[in-house]
């Protein structure tokens, strides 16, 4: 089997680790071999965090080699751009459009708001899926569903080794029951959105 590699990136505290655990769980259920690597430590305090998820038979390194990721799931626009070297040529990028402005940017008045990052991504020869994570979180009433919303969009794209159904199952098995409904709502919101704006 080919290796499917997914890089999740974002800012410490955004919930990338849980997202990678859900993908891993789905792969385990299918009897696949899997390796992941997480950022744990100082960077979790608002720094850049990445989770590497690799599924397939012949995997040795838990870290995805450069130009090795089939899909990049970015919780923040600048982090998507930062992690582009990991993406395979013509790979898929799922990106949350809302910027997390670092303190350094607020102090320096840089005016960073993520728009220039999205514009940059749009100019690249990649498959780009921009997700309005904020809108979905507001609709579902919790900022905590961002990770599942992004996973749902990634699952829809077909580039991730997990379908929306498998994602639902993973949520059922891995998350406390009280979080099931809001996360299912997030998946549904993404589905409605992709029906309106089909992923190409």
């Amino acid at each position: 089997m080919m290796v499917n590699s997914c890089l999740l990136c974002g800012v410490g505290g955004q919930g990338t680790v849980l997202a990678s655990k859900l993908i891993a769980f789905a792969a385990m259920e299918k009897g696949k071999r899997i390796r992941t690597a997480e950022t744990i430590g100082m960077a979790q305090r608002g720094g850049c965090v990445v989770s590497h998820v690799r599924i397939g038979d012949e995997i040795f390194s838990p870290m995805i080699p450069l130009k090795g990721a089939d899909i990049l799931i970015a919780f923040e626009p600048a982090e998507a751009v930062r992690c582009l070297p990991y993406l395979k040529d013509g790979g898929t990028v799922v990106v949350n459009q809302k910027a997390v402005r670092p303190v350094t940017a607020s102090l320096a008045d840089s005016g960073y708001d993520g728009k220039e990052m999205i514009a940059h991504l749009k100019g690249l020869p990649i498959r780009l899926i921009v997700v309005d994570g904020d809108a979905i979180c507001q609709k579902c009433g919790s900022p905590r569903v961002l990770n599942v919303a992004l996973l749902a969009a990634a699952a829809k794209s077909g580039a991730l080794a997990m379908t929306a159904e498998e994602l639902k199952y993973a949520i059922q098995k891995r998350l406390p029951e009280k979080f099931h409904q809001i996360n299912f709502a997030a998946i549904e919101a993404v589905e409605i959105e992709t029906e309106r704006n089909p992923i190409v």
Binding site: I34, G46, F60, P62, M63, K67, V103, T104, S106
Partner: protein, 598 residues
């Protein structure tokens, strides 16, 4: 049975399956989850504790190992410095029950002060060391480490690195732990358990004789493997073995590959077998050139005319983490026919930088800010320490002038004050660090009549590493409640005459406390007590009145709270981050910020 485990969980489970009875440690990235995962097993046969520091952990475990129990100690690499006093002696005395000291190294370093290499410490302390290359190897090797320890009667080091600790894999594990006999208890044997110069001389002789035999044993150890054929060879260890295998996918050139899972005592026979066949070797490892030097040593000892490449001749970088790419580049240089690695395209240049910062609502921000304001325009030095509060160094707080090692804030401040008598010297220490190694520094200050202001940042947890209990929290790792140890009472008992306890989120009171302390002489202490935001429920976010806000940016420029930013020339609050700590509302000159409903 297959389980999806993080390297640290695999080590924990392996230890449980090897019949460990006592596990003690001190939290530190990347080692922390090992002990926590053992505790999660809730095995009634296993006692688990977060000790007050690594030295205490090692000594507790030594006592249990003297009594025949299998024990494990966990720490990060710099923790080994703290534990090295008992460990150096224990290497001579030895153990009865198997004892594995797990020391997680942190190449990069990603979350540490140093890039020290526990393999080097192994040869210095003359203790065998295991170096797993993956979580599944770690699960198996920790069990082998217990066996070796018990058979040889010596503590054994086990050294995973960050990428082994924090990577996960699907691992085949035992369905349940095998049965182990109960330990026999402590048997008096003074010749053995009382360390004495004469006995140490004998023990030294014994160890020097033993280690080459262990090296021999390691030459046939299942995770030290020699494969392939050819005139060139790769030698790899730890996670670099995994990176090398990844880098070599699709390459079909001829070469030998020696994977070393036990760097010390070096498996000499295996090494000689390799050197006999090849002309050139490339060594791929992280941190110190341990394997590289072992091979160079063998070349000299047995007169092999083989070129050894690695860190020492600049073939691979001398410091930092390895990666598949770094290894590919080295292989491209080394092999005649290795494909040229592709260069990744450059990323956009002006990406926002994102250094880690104190969380929104973190009480440490309030404490640092209060001290900063109280000391404005006066000569002061701020000595910091290890923990979340090291992040007080970031702009705009910029309140950490020194940071060395656990507990050093208290003592460095004393030294600076001796040379710089007209400076007010502050030391900032967290509650967990205070218990771990701050108390002796305070005793030193009082006894030697120093003149410092000790700021204890008491957030009632060990926040940086993920909220472990400590003596001040009133909880133990076994889930029992114990009497909280009062920092105020300790300070008073030591003889600190001025001890104030203040809520740092009460801005005026906090500044006053510092100003008052600054007027006095001697050792003064202020306890800034407010819980870490991660252990209490947040309050409602503050609201900013856009009419009142004049856009002066004082709140942003002074505090650097990640929840505050400018939008259309007015301050705004990111509600998902704001904890409603209220600090910004107390410093806004136009009172534009308020807590909801107030």
């Amino acid at each position: 049975m297959k389980q999806f485990l993080m390297g640290n969980e695999a080590i924990a489970l392996g230890a449980c399956h090897a019949g460990v009875r006592l596990v003690a440690g001190y939290p530190g990235t990347p080692s922390t989850e090992i002990l926590e995962s053992v505790a999660k097993q809730k095995d009634p046969d296993i006692y688990v504790e977060w000790s007050v520091n690594e030295k205490a952990a090692l000594e507790v475990a030594a006592g249990a190992a003297y009594s025949g129990a299998r024990t494990m100690v966990t720490m990060k690499q710099v923790g080994l410095n703290v534990a090295s006093d008992p460990l150096m002696s224990l290497a001579y005395v030895g153990v009865k029950g198997g004892m594995v000291v797990v020391v997680a190294d942190d190449p990069g370093p990603i979350s540490s002060q140093t890039e020290q290499d526990t393999r080097t410490f192994a040869s210095y302390s003359k203790l065998p060391v295991f170096d797993p290359s993956s979580p599944e190897e770690a699960y198996q090797m920790i069990q082998d480490a217990f066996t070796l320890s018990e058979e040889e009667g010596t503590p054994v080091l086990f050294r995973p690195t960050t990428r082994v600790c924090h990577s996960c894999a699907d691992i085949e594990v035992l369905d349940q732990k095998p049965a182990f006999p109960a330990p026999e208890g402590f048997m008096r044997d003074t010749a053995r358990f009382v360390i004495f110069p004469k006995a140490s001389y004998q023990n030294h002789l014994r160890i020097e004789k033993r280690n080459p035999l262990i090296g021999k044993r390691f030459s046939s150890y299942r995770y030290n493997t020699l494969t392939g054929k050819g005139k060139k060879a790769l030698v790899t260890g730890g996670i670099s073995t995994a990176y090398a295998k990844e880098a070599l996918l699709g390459y079909d050139g001829e070469f030998l590959h020696l994977c070393v899972a036990t760097p010390f005592p070096f498996p000499e026979e295996l090494g000689r077998k390799l050197l006999n066949e090849v002309d050139e070797v490339l060594v791929l490892e992280e941190l110190d050139p341990v394997l590289e030097k072992a091979l160079i040593f063998l070349c000299g000892k047995y007169h092999f005319d083989v070129a050894i490449h690695g860190k020492l001749d600049g073939f691979v970088p001398a410091a930092g983490e390895n990666s598949v790419e770094i290894l590919k580049n080295a292989m491209y240089e080394f092999f005649d026919d290795f494909p040229r690695p592709s260069r990744p395209e450059a990323v956009l240049e002006d990406l926002p930088v994102r250094p880690p910062v104190l969380c929104a609502g973190c009480p440490h921000r309030a404490s640092f800010y209060a001290v900063k304001q109280a000391m404005k325009g006066r000569k002061a030095v701020f000595c910091g320490d290890i923990g979340c509060y090291t992040l007080g160094n970031a702009m705009p707080l910029d309140m950490v002038d020194t940071c060395l090692c656990m507990g050093a804030d208290v003592t460095i401040a004393q030294g600076i004050r001796r040379v710089d008598p007209d400076t007010t010297c502050f030391s900032f220490i967290g509650d967990s660090t205070f218990f771990a190694s701050g108390i002796t520094g305070v005793v030193n200050a009082v006894y030697n009549q120093s003149d410092i202001i000790l700021i204890v940042l008491d957030n009632s947890t060990t926040a940086m590493t993920g909220h472990q209990p400590h003596p001040g929290t009133g909880q133990t790792m076994m889930g029992t409640i114990s009497e909280k140890i009062s920092i105020e009472k300790i300070l008073t008992a030591i003889g600190v005459t001025s001890v104030q306890t203040v809520d740092p989120l009460n801005y005026k009171a906090a500044v006053k406390a510092v100003a008052d302390a600054a007027k006095e002489k001697g050792v003064r202490a202020i306890l800034f007590r407010s819980p870490c935001i991660a252990v209490v429920k947040p309050e409602k976010p503050v609201v900013i009145d856009r009419e009142k806000c004049v856009g002066c940016k004082k709140c942003i420029r002074d505090l650097g709270c990640p929840a505050l930013m400018m939008n259309d020339n007015k301050a705004s609050v990111e509600e998902s981050l704001c904890t409603g700590c209220g600090l910004c509302s107390q410093i806004c000159p136009t009172s534009a910020i308020s807590k909801e409903g107030k």
